[in-house]
């Protein structure tokens, strides 16, 4: 009969209308500034620089190798190498970036810089609230703004960070072993050196 | 001769002139709608409420819209600029002017129009309805027939070409 479908449809909408008041679970809207959906693990916005420890500038993993600067398709990274060196996590002396700028208004979030980095020093952030009143200066992030603790990365990408952490522990262990072996070898050599006169 | 009549009359005449002599046909039709509205106001002022509202309903609501549709359907919204008036336009204008002068002289010279006092009675809608259903029932039926015939005729005329073309 004509009109039957209209009445059925109106019943459905009425059910939704009443239901949305009685059962808040039905409301799919997330009221953003107050409520947020936790970011998915693979979410990515713009890159940031990882540092270890408490001091952001001292703990930067970046060694200013400039691979990311060369690979970046929109060329939004600018790096200047330092004159001096400082030890990295394994204790090896490395350069560090005196200037590390990313223009996030140019960045296209392609993640190539992350993929090419041999030192796990640059990672993608999930931070998206970057609005600023100055569209040139405000969106050009310097290394002080870019540096974020490894703890932050562990929070947003736990799986990946666990892998990296394991690898780095391994690296450190190897470095230590090597150091130990070197030390032993040195000690042996020294002992030999010492022994030689005894023998000799 | 009061101010309200003067205002409405001026509006009606100006828009009627616009309806006749503007270049853009859509403007003409819109001016015509204003003329119809002005006439409806004059009817109201004369105490013929029913006729005034019927005028708006039929003329502004239907005839003006019909003319607009016709203008758009025949794509004559913009005149091409030349040949706005027919070749012997001065003849037509002369005839119209003569008609007006004659009518005006008749009106002014007539004894019938001398100092009439407007009648007081406002016709109620009920009185009009009763009259339509008693004294004027035959014209009413004829009008009904005419309207039906016009409806069917208009449809057939407008459709004719299409059917033969098939």
């Amino acid at each position: 009969m004509l009109g039957e479908g209209i009445i059925k449809g109106m019943a459905v909408t009425a059910k939704n209308f009443v239901g949305s008041y009685r059962d808040p679970e039905r409301l799919t809207t997330v009221e953003y500034p107050e409520q947020r959906i936790p970011a998915k693990e693979n979410a990515r916005q713009f890159p940031f620089l990882v540092f270890d420890g408490d001091n952001p500038m001292a703990g930067l993993r970046c060694v200013a190798c400039q691979i990311c600067e060369k690979e970046c398709p929109p060329q939004c990274i600018y790096i200047e190498k330092s004159k001096d060196k400082k030890p990295d996590h394994t204790g090896k002396p490395q350069f560090y970036p005196a200037i590390f700028d990313i223009d996030v208004s140019v960045c296209m979030s392609c993640q190539i810089c992350v993929e090419v980095c041999p030192f796990e020093a640059i990672k993608m952030d999930t931070e998206f609230e970057l609005s600023t009143e100055d569209r040139f200066g405000g969106l050009l992030l310097h290394r002080e703004q870019l540096a974020k603790s490894v703890l932050h990365h562990r929070k947003i990408h736990p799986t990946e960070e666990a892998e990296i952490e394991a690898r780095r522990v391994e690296e450190r262990r190897k470095a230590e072993e090597k150091a130990k072996a070197d030390a032993e070898a040195k000690a042996k050599a020294a002992a030999k050196k010492e022994a030689v006169p005894v023998q000799g | 001769m009061d101010a309200i009549f003067a205002i409405i009359a001026a509006l009606t005449v100006v828009s009627a002139a616009g309806a006749m002599f503007l270049r853009n046909l859509v403007h003409c039709a819109l001016c015509l709608a204003v003329t119809f509205g002005g006439l409806a106001l004059l009817y109201l002022k004369l105490g013929a409420q029913f006729v005034g509202f019927a005028q708006v309903l039929v003329y502004v609501g239907a005839v003006a819209i019909l003319i607009l549709f016709a203008i758009l359907l025949t794509r004559s919204g913009q005149d091409d600029g030349h040949n706005l008036l027919s070749n012997k336009w001065w003849l037509g204008a002369g005839v119209a002017g003569a008609v007006f002068v004659t009518l005006a002289m008749c009106v002014q010279g007539s004894f019938v129009t001398g100092n009439r006092i407007p009648a007081a009675a406002d016709p109620s809608v009920k009185a009009i309805g009763t009259a339509l259903m008693s004294n004027y029932v035959l014209p009413l039926e004829v009008i009904a027939l005419l309207l039906t015939a016009a409806l069917i005729g208009a449809v057939i005329i407008a459709q004719k070409e299409k059917e033969t073309g098939k």
């Binding site: - | 009627a16 309806a19 013929a48 019909l66 203008i71 204008a93």
Partner: protein, 103 residues
């Protein structure tokens, strides 16, 4: 000048404007508009004479106006249908160029 004269003169003026338009313009639609204007001028006369006439209770003028409005509506419908048919046939609405009897 009394009031009835004012209405009658206005009606005459409207009639003359309509007549002038219908006689001088080339476009068929404008000719139709002119005819409508003339009909309306006549209606105004009917109403004015009814109002200032000897016995307004008879409603003769009002009835005339009502029937005239109905006829004008029918006339407009048929007239515009004719104009559209002519336009389909001759591809013009210029009354001066619609001069052949044979289709």
């Amino acid at each position: 000048m009394n009031e009835l004269n004012g209405y009658l003169l206005l009606s005459a003026l409207l009639f003359a404007i309509g007549l002038a338009g219908a006689l001088t313009r080339r476009n068929a639609i404008i000719v139709l508009i002119g005819i409508e204007l003339m009909l309306n001028a006549a209606n105004l006369n009917f109403i004015a004479f009814w109002r200032y006439g000897p016995n307004p209770e008879a409603l003769t003028g009002v009835m005339f106006a009502i029937f005239s409005i109905a006829i004008a509506a029918a006339e407009a419908a048929v007239g515009l249908a004719l104009i559209i048919a002519i336009h389909r046939h001759f591809k013009t609405t210029d009354v001066g160029r619609v001069d052949r009897m044979k289709g």
